[in-house]
Symmetry: none
Subunit: 74 residues, 2 copies
Amino acid sequence: MRSQVPSYRQLADRIAEAIAAGEYGPDDPIPSLRTLQQETGLAMATVQHAISVLRTEGLVYSVSGRGTFVRPPG
Amino acid sequence: MRSQVPSYRQLADRIAEAIAAGEYGPDDPIPSLRTLQQETGLAMATVQHAISVLRTEGLVYSVSGRGTFVRPPG
DNA sequence: ATGCATTTGTTCGTATGTATG
DNA sequence: GCATACATACGAACAAATGCA
């Protein structure tokens, strides 16, 4: 059953909108991968894929062992 | 075809058997995560995963900073 | 009592292998 | 073959409890 929009894209868009709406401020942490995993029911690597998209778009940055944060405008 | 038994499952089973065999009595501590890590050569989070399985199954309980203990029969 | 190092469990992001359409 | 998605496994940072100087 070919789904219209891939899960990782839906999740990336949802987070991007939350950031745009100011739900998370500059350098604020977004929910952890595990939290997102439990919220969405997706697999770890799929959630990571979504974050990876946001990182490529310059919206967030990640620090291993710490978390993923909103990239402040530079 | 992925029909190998995962490392975390093997470890969980091994500990479950030790408990069933009476090697660790009620409220006795099982080996620490670091000890298990060194014994098995696995990563921290993988050992943690094994313990997490045992906790879900109600076999053990964990206390941060103290250890993981055998859950007495209710 | 205070401070600090050590030990223990917890949570973080990341990488790899595999299956499916 | 490629994109999508899953389970597994990894290394590092975090946080709570303990003991000792």
